[in-house]
Symmetry: C2
């Protein structure tokens, strides 16, 4: 409670106010609508998760899709059908506990609200999917620098020509994130991220981008592009953008996701969900 | 084809006839009804899997249950709803490619046929769940002996007082297998099995059985009991009997499983599905 006194009583808080707060404290402030910004850098050491909410009618197919494509779609938690409550990786309400959402109807973005109370329906199922922030902290901890942080950019994201394993109406190419890694740190980077299968795990590709249909200068999302030095190897990890892109392409009539960068903060330390 | 000439043209084959055959060759013989025995020791090096087939109506809940309890219920593959075809870990037909099945109606065992063609329905979903044979081979490979093999018994299986995380109508205690491990090999045994999350992974408990509600002399299934020497530590792993027990207890009106010991043989080498 002493920590909470740092937070102003008034409406909005700043990112600095949130520093050092626990996931539960941050979610409580988010729930009150007092923080609607991004979550990168908040509650350091705790795993964050991507959110996809879908109608129950397609939930089984979607979960099978994720099971078949664990690198881009590592499932962290699935809510009970009809329930917005997270019970395993936190005690939280998906309708209010993320700072901002994207609501899609018939494949079109119709709203980006700070809560989805009015959009919740009794047939919705929430999927929390691992996010790369966890393994990035582990890379930094192993002394492996992250270029997009150094250059204050968004990590580069590409659509590959590698098809995901389809399941029912869910099909499409794998989306990946790319980080330039110094050649002498490549092996360590693979080892470090292998420990985190719940947050995309080991790389899906190392080296020549053309082998997976990627041109490094052309990101498919409005993300950063990085100059590669002679000793830089491009390393590609499965990206949580994959299930979102696949779900959008499948023309499901209703879907809610987190807004990019506005993730769900879990109560689980990244180290606690590491495979070993 | 030269290998296949070892197999007699006539109806039944013996286990010795199957030695050295590939998973595909064995499944083909099983499909013809020429081998209806157990699968332990067959296609060494390849992962085998437990089978549970459930109506689609409960499939989402069951898959969520497995996601919440990955140690006892590691999902290897889920078939497309309504389809008996395995497409990821083999190209195979779940109706014919296991040597023997158990068919349950209203929670009662009604048949143990060698194929389930006549029981298949358009609303069924097949779940393949990892089996401990894979990590047992890895333990043996690391020089860690397995007492149940030495004594030619079935590994001991216990129902614990540790509740699984429930999902919908699926709830119940975790079922575990126990292997006595020599104290000086305990750390290595944990390391070796940690590499195989798809086949139950690291132990769920080490040491004092009473802490998880187990009396080593009372197995809940008709399995082996082992004398522990002074330097033996009882080590407990999540067991594929868990989802079966939980599904049975949930009073689902229809379920098909493999008959105990008569598993599905995949085309995946155990080492190929290891986490690292």
């Amino acid at each position: 409670m002493t920590v909470l006194t740092k937070v102003p009583e008034a409406a909005q808080v700043t990112k600095a106010d949130l520093e050092g707060l626990s996931p539960k404290e941050i979610r409580s402030i988010v729930r009150e609508g007092r923080w609607t910004g991004g979550t990168e850098g908040l509650a350091r050491g705790y795993a964050q998760a991507n959110l996809i909410i879908l109608p129950q009618e397609v939930a089984l197919e979607f979960l099978i899709f994720c099971q078949r494509n664990p690198k881009p779609c590592p499932i962290v938690e699935v809510t009970d059908p009809g329930s917005p409550m997270v019970t395993q990786v936190a005690n939280a309400d998906l309708r209010t506990d993320l700072p901002r959402y994207s609501v899609y109807k018939d494949g079109k973005l119709i709203d980006q609200p700070s809560n989805i109370v009015k959009y919740w329906r009794d047939d919705l199922v929430g999927f929390l999917i691992g996010c790369s922030y966890s393994f990035e902290e582990a890379l930094l901890g192993a002394g492996i620098p992250l270029r997009h942080q150094e250059e204050d950019k968004i990590v580069s994201v590409y659509t590959t020509d590698v098809p995901c394993v389809p399941a029912g109406r869910f099909a499409g190419p794998m989306v990946v994130s790319m980080r330039p890694i110094k050649n002498h740190q490549l092996v360590r980077a693979i080892q470090v991220t292998s420990r985190f299968p719940a947050t995309h795990g080991a790389p899906v590709h190392v080296g020549d981008p053309s082998l997976i249909g990627v041109d490094l200068n052309k990101t498919d999302f409005d993300t950063g592009v990085f100059e590669l030095g002679e000793d830089d190897v491009p390393v590609f990890w499965g990206c949580g953008g994959t299930p979102q892109a696949v779900a959008l392409a499948s023309k499901i009539d209703f879907m809610i996701t987190h807004k990019v960068g506005h993730l769900f903060i879990t109560d689980k330390r990244s180290e606690a969900i590491a495979a070993l």
